[in-house]
Amino acid sequence: MSTPSSAAPWSPPAANAAASAPPRESHWVKALPFIGPVVLFIVWDLVVRFGLIKAILLPMPGATLQTLLSGLAGGALLGDFAVTVWRTLQAFLIAAVVGVPLGVLLGSNERAYRSVEFLIDFFRSTPSSALIPLFLMIFGVSDVNKVAIAAFGALLIVVFNSAYGVMNARKQRVMAAKVMGASRWQIFRDVLVWESLQPTFVGLRSAVSMALVIVIVAEMFIGSDSGLGHRIINSQQVMNVKDMYASIIAAGALGYALNILFLVAERRIVHWSGR
């Protein structure tokens, strides 16, 4: 047993621990995320260089990247890229503007949600691409068609997540508002809507990915003369593989960027999430 030093008054354990140097994060730890892409790049390069895959099927990575950059720096690729971005955003906006209020309303009235739950779950589980012919019949071969079907697929995800966000709101926060005398409308406005924000963001993020997928598919198969999907399938048919790979990477970068964008927005807006 240690002898208690009775002289000094008790004080909470001081921040001595913090004074010692924090563990250093060495530079190579920061470089870890780059290892994967670099290895892929090297393997890709070696595979083509040693002729394991013919250059007619897989171009050199450097050349592909060059095609990508020059294409995006004002080339034809940029136009198709912009068209795809625009269609995805349109579809996403429709899904968000309709889906979030609808989901929050359905979620705050559980009976209403239960009565449409099957429909939402069924069509959410149906691959949206399977509905392309149906949408073709309704909207014809048009730009509207591609946006409409992407919006439809994205909408269900948004509705589902927002509704569950409201239904899974922390009971105690609702009770706290109630005990302070909040009316049903005030509880809805001041608690339920906020509680649903985080799941809503999850929904919006999945929705924008879904919208991009469907837009690309629609551009490939619904008579189209623009967009990344159109460009990918076109360059494949004329065996312009450099352009095809550049377009694929552009589509991937777009999806990745959208995901990051939403993650950052979520962290900004739902600042309390996970705390």
């Binding site: 105690q172 926060r173 706290a176 005990v179 302070m180 909040a182 001041d190 906020w194 924000l197 309390w272």
Partner: protein, 277 residues
Amino acid sequence: MRATVENVINGPVYADVPKPAFVPGPAGTHITIRGLTKYFAGWPLYENFDLDIPKQKIVSVFGPNGCGKSTLINMIAGLIPIDSGEILFDGKSLEDTKIGYVFQNYREAMFPWMRTIDNIAYPLKLEGRSKAEVDRRMEELVASFDVKFDLKRYPYELSGGQQQTASIMRALAPNPEVLFLDEPFSALDFEMTLFIREKLQEVFMKTGTTMLLVSHDLEEAVYLADQVLLLTKRPTRVAEILDYRDQRPRTLETLSSASFVAMKKLSLEIFQREVRR
């Protein structure tokens, strides 16, 4: 007289057992509970439960596990519906009564999307008070709680004790007639428990707000109490109501005084008697 009644033709027929007449509690009663009945999963938790809670006193609720201490105050506060019975505050219903409630789990009681100061002011805004009134009341609260942390921060940026302090301030902001405290200390460390306990006593001495405290710590329950309400196992009845009259402010010395120790011992004996029953 009886004859006359029997002579009335087609007089009213009372099929139901008439409701027992409402018997008011003794003078100084704040909350009157009559015939409170609550079933859980087909089993009675409270059956025909009567209780008078005195005004301007702190009542600690203590009892065996699962006897429904928290359920009792939640029913009084209107958070859990009752099956039957009547609960009146100075003869008024809950709707006409201003109450404050402090939850055990402060993390899920505060609104993390609001700054702490807006959390505390929220009940005042619900009442539709003007900005000037809200500001004045907030200043009062901050002064009386001697707040040392930054209320502009979000609740999740504060320590547990600070969050619970803030949620007590929120509960007290609208000057409630009754303050409910559901195990307010059990998620806090000892240092913070002592601090908040003193603050509560201070507020009580200043305002005389009726307080209902649920605690699983007997020392805590007795220390703050004017009355210790001991409950039985379910179906829950009142085992005993003990008056504890030691002077306020009670201090750390109180904890070792003969009267405190005797009160704690007596409470413990009744508690053990009820647990073994």
